[in-house]
């Protein structure tokens, strides 16, 4: 690649632009919907305790939706950058760790047996449990001193297992309506979420983020290969597990809350990499902001695009992301062949 140094954006400018974009998209996400919401009035009403319809829409519909998009998007961007840095491969994505499909399988199981009707907590908690179980299973399968290849293979195996489980549930679903509900859930969606969903997702999300804070320098050193990184004072085995577990926790929480939303973790780090001189460490926080922007924007997009059946946000990110993925493969073929 010859684009080193082409983008002469300073780090401050980059953070400024991404932060402003995030704030604007967040406000837009609160304001835009079936009915436009006068944000200032709604916030005033909410803070002063006025029981207006605006305050209710803000606190019960728009705010949770925007907050979940913000945090889940940031998780996907951050975890994509972390996985790409760890595996030293621009095509790596958060889905590789297997926890996303683990979360999806458990969530779909809960939907299938109708357990989600018992309590609103059941679905997200099941998703989180599935993500954690998948992580533990990868750990057990791969062993403590697992190589990158073993880890990826274990992740692929878990993904296959979870997909098989979901196929079985779809196959056995009693009615077309049940099938529809299951499929739609997996497509990824942030409508009809409450603050309760948001608070449920936050602890594991933040644990994952905190575990990823401070690995930047180690990912930079990993650029020179695991052995050289090891000679530079890094324990590659420890680093692998730290990133894997962190990504599992954060992505598991995101998937349990919003379903499968692909391509953000792949596209965002790749787009932003040239702006941070391809340094894997500096890419982490930038990708978190970028991921938040993309999911907020996509979630606004599904509200603005007029379709008879509501468009799912995961479908939109896939439609935008998949061609980009193809473009990446074509370009990497040109580079390495």
């Amino acid at each position: 690649m010859d684009n080193t140094g082409i983008y002469t954006v300073s780090q401050k400018q980059l953070y400024l632009v991404l932060s402003i974009a995030t704030v604007i998209l967040f406000i837009a996400s609160v304001a835009i919907g079936r009915d436009a919401l006068p944000v200032v009035t709604a916030v005033k009403d909410l803070l002063s305790g006025t029981d207006s319809v605006y305050a209710v829409i803000l606190s019960q519909i728009r705010l949770p939706r925007a907050l979940i998009a913000l945090f889940a998007g940031a998780t996907l961007g951050l975890c994509g950058a972390a996985m790409q840095g760890l595996l030293r491969n621009p095509l790596a994505s958060p889905g590789l760790v297997g926890s996303a499909s683990g979360a999806a399988l458990f969530a779909v199981t809960v939907l299938y047996f109708g357990n989600s009707l018992i309590s609103p907590y059941v679905l997200p908690i099941a998703g989180m449990t599935g993500a954690l179980l998948a992580t533990v299973l990868v750990y057990v399968l791969a062993g403590r001193d697992a190589s990158i290849t073993t880890l990826i293979l274990a992740g692929v195996a878990i993904n296959a297992l979870a997909t098989a489980g979901m196929s079985l549930l779809l196959n056995l679903a009693p009615s077309p309506f049940a099938v529809r509900e299951l499929v739609l859930w997996t497509l990824g969606d942030i409508t009809d979420r409450s603050m309760r969903d948001f608070w449920l997702m936050i602890p594991t999300t933040l644990i994952g983020w905190l575990m990823l804070a401070g690995v930047g320098g180690q990912l930079d050193a990993l650029t020179l290969g695991e052995r050289t990184a090891q000679s530079m004072g890094i324990n590659p085995g420890q680093l692998r597990w730290r990133v894997f577990i962190a990504v599992s926790l954060a992505v598991g929480a995101a998937v349990a809350t919003v379903g499968m939303i692909g391509f953000i973790g792949l596209v965002i780090p790749h787009l932003l990499r040239p702006f941070v001189s391809h340094e894997p460490g500096r890419l982490l926080p930038v990708s978190a902001l970028g991921g938040a922007c993309m999911l907020l924007a996509a979630d606004i997009g599904v509200r603005l695009i007029p379709t008879d059946t509501p468009l799912r946000v995961g479908v939109l990110t896939a439609i935008v992301g998949a061609p980009f993925f193809l473009h990446l493969i074509v370009r990497s073929r040109r580079e390495y062949l």
Binding site: T4, G217, S231
Partner: protein, 257 residues
């Protein structure tokens, strides 16, 4: 003389084969020591053990008079630098950025490069003749340029012990000389360098002492003239050599035995 690095009876077994077999060697402050031997003799494997990257099955390695296994990995990385034979560069970082990674052992996770760090980086870049490459994409370098950059990374970390695995194998004549002078100067009174070499002429000219390795064992050690005797080379490499030159010794392979 202070012993910086010492191995006693180091053995490394893989698939029932002793790749390194009871090797005892030492590296003192101020010394440039060469490790020579045919392909597959176990030189690189030995270097990995000495760097603490792999654990030996028997024997022990002492770095700065302490068991290397008991030195915390972060502290070890400040004492010892290891340059791989052909290290990968996975992202298109600039050469300067790669060299600056050498300062990592001295920085905490959130610390930025200080003026002192920058000085060490600039110094390493100048010593390895990488100045004209400084802003270039590290993934586009030639084999020799990459070796120099990775050596600069190691120099920038300012270690007491430098282990270099065939640092001149891919270099042109000028840069071979430059690198040998660089290693020679590096081994000043406080520091030591152990280098794997295939060029026996340069090894005998620049190194204080040599270890000759064959099939995992040290078969000869001492001053270059003694180690690189006709007899030894015939036995270990299986070739007839022509030697000569007093001030600037040369060793040229003539024919297989």
């Amino acid at each position: 003389m202070t012993v910086l690095l010492q191995s006693s009876g180091v053995t490394y077994v893989r698939s029932n084969r002793a790749l390194v077999n009871e090797v005892s060697l030492s590296l003192c402050a101020g010394e440039l020591v060469g490790l020579v031997g045919p392909n597959g003799a176990g030189k690189s494997t030995l270097l990995n053990l000495l760097a603490g990257l792999d654990d030996c099955n028997a024997g022990s390695v002492a770095l700065d008079q302490r068991d290397i296994k008991k030195i915390p990995i972060a502290q070890r990385s400040r004492l010892l630098a290891w340059v791989a034979q052909s290290g990968p560069v996975n992202w298109p970082l600039t050469v300067e950025r790669v060299v600056s990674l050498g300062r990592r052992p001295h920085l905490s996770a959130w610390q930025r490069l200080s003026a002192e760090d920058q000085l060490a980086i600039d110094n390493a870049i100048a010593l390895t003749d990488c100045e004209n490459l400084r802003h270039q994409d590290a993934t586009t370098l030639s084999g020799g340029e990459r070796t120099r950059m990775l050596l600069a990374r190691a120099i920038a970390s300012d270690p007491k012990v430098l282990l270099a695995d065939e640092p001149i194998a891919a270099l042109d004549l000028k840069h071979q000389l430059q690198t040998m002078h660089l290693l020679r100067n590096f081994a000043s009174n406080e520091k030591g360098c152990l280098v794997v070499l295939h060029d026996l002429s340069l090894a005998s000219r620049f190194c204080d002492r040599l270890y000759l390795m064959d099939e995992g064992k040290i078969v000869s050690e001492g001053i270059p003239a003694a180690v690189l005797s006709q007899d030894n080379l015939r036995k270990v490499y299986g070739v007839e050599v022509a030697t000569g030159g007093d001030e600037i010794p040369y060793i040229v392979p003539v024919r297989e035995l």
